[in-house]
């Protein structure tokens, strides 16, 4: 059966007519989905809020300027007063991601340090391209990977080192490389950075 030729569909563009005949446009979610959505958010709130604090951070960290080596980005470190994280640092885009701003929550747990990024605005990297997070020492002589991502809108990294020794947080853009390839290291193309404490001026 076809829609009759004198139908009112002539008022609509072909793309819209195609969508109107697509079954997915007429599908209804199950009645239980609303409760699932509400429960999903409630569950996550319950998990996040009562986190026990070990507080490895030295009291209330003052605002700190990053040294010139830190990708020319000025970042602030503040202590959080809520119960979610030990601290939150401002994350700032470099000249590879101008105007990008966000934050990273730092939380110490027994297995290591969790770093929760909320940095919208970076273009998504897919396929063989990705972002990689790093912690770096003040001297810039040691680098620890914390995870790889498509974007940093809502991303989490983990580190098994003490952030007091590796206070510089950077994210680089990377491409997939073979094992033992030199490209497996940092590309050096830093897109955003932050500092969790001030490094001595060099």
């Amino acid at each position: 059966m076809t829609v009759e030729s004198n139908d009112d569909g002539a008022m609509l563009d072909p793309e819209i007519l195609a969508l109107l005949s697509d079954p997915s446009l007429w599908e209804e979610p199950s009645a239980a989905l609303e409760d699932r959505v509400v429960a999903g958010i409630s569950d996550e709130r319950r998990v996040v809020v009562p986190m026990k604090r070990r507080n490895p951070w030295p009291g209330r960290l003052a605002a700190a300027a990053v040294g010139a080596a830190a990708a020319a980005a000025v970042v602030l470190v503040v202590t959080r007063d809520d119960q979610h994280a030990d601290a939150s640092v401002a994350v700032t885009g470099t000249n590879l991601a101008p105007g990008v701003k966000g934050s990273a929550d730092i939380t110490s747990v027994s297995s290591g340090v969790r770093i929760d990024f909320s940095v919208p605005g970076l273009p998504r990297r897919d396929g063989e391209e990705f972002y990689q997070g790093w912690l770096k020492n003040c001297a810039g002589t040691a680098l620890v990977p914390i995870g790889t991502y498509h974007d940093l809108d809502d991303a989490t990294g983990w580190a098994g080192v003490d952030v007091a020794d590796f206070p510089l947080l950077t994210v680089t853009q990377e491409v997939v490389a073979a094992p033992k390839d030199a490209e497996q290291g940092s590309s050096g193309k830093v897109v955003v950075s932050a500092a969790m404490k001030a490094c001595p001026a060099t």
Partner: protein, 188 residues
């Protein structure tokens, strides 16, 4: 014309995880999120999983959202991204061989829809939902089922003239509501 935005207070309460606000947001946008997810994934269960994940991610990122802006494009973007991630995750699962795979096997799906196509899907579904129920039924039978006006009249037990007038009103409404999709987009 996009669907009416939610009250600013509701969005702010959603940020705080208020259950009533989460429900209000779902009732306003849930069917649209689900439609986009279903169109990308083609599977009811996966689409519901993606819908749940979309609202969770929206809540996690809500502090970065400007409450004075329209929430719909932002939610549509999150939905597309979540559905594509689900699709990729499904396609990585070990499955049947290529010779025996069905045409709708997720592993065979390749290019995800563009952001523009997703937004068009969102807008068309919103326009459908905005129709009065009696007009929506006629449009569904006409376009989804492929029935003629006469067949619809018989199926619904209505005079042919009533079906024709409902169809005309519904299509005028859709054309008016969706006309902006064909208008050139001004750069800001």
């Amino acid at each position: 014309m996009p669907e009416a935005s939610l009250d600013r207070d509701v969005v702010e309460q959603f940020r705080a995880g208020n259950e009533d606000a989460v429900r209000a947001l779902y009732r306003h946008y849930g069917r649209l999120v689900y439609t986009v997810a279903f169109r990308i994934l083609g599977d009811r269960q996966l689409a519901e999983d993606a819908t749940q994940q979309t609202f969770l991610q929206a809540w996690r990122a809500a502090s970065t959202f400007d409450v004075d802006r329209d929430l719909a494009p932002w939610l549509a973007t999150i939905t597309r991204r979540v559905a594509i991630d689900v699709q990729r995750s499904e396609s990585r699962r070990p499955s049947t061989s290529i010779e025996t795979a069905s045409a709708d096997d997720p592993a065979l799906v390749s290019l995800p829809p563009s952001a523009e196509a997703v937004w068009e899907t969102w807008q068309v579904r919103a326009a459908i939902d905005d129709l009065p129920a009696d007009e929506r039924d006629v449009v569904r039978l006409q376009h989804l089922q492929g029935h003629t006006h006469a067949e619809i009249a018989e199926k619904l037990g209505l005079p042919l003239g009533t079906v024709k007038s409902r169809s005309s009103r519904a299509h005028q409404h859709l054309a008016h509501r969706l006309r902006h999709l064909r208008e050139p987009i001004d750069d800001e």
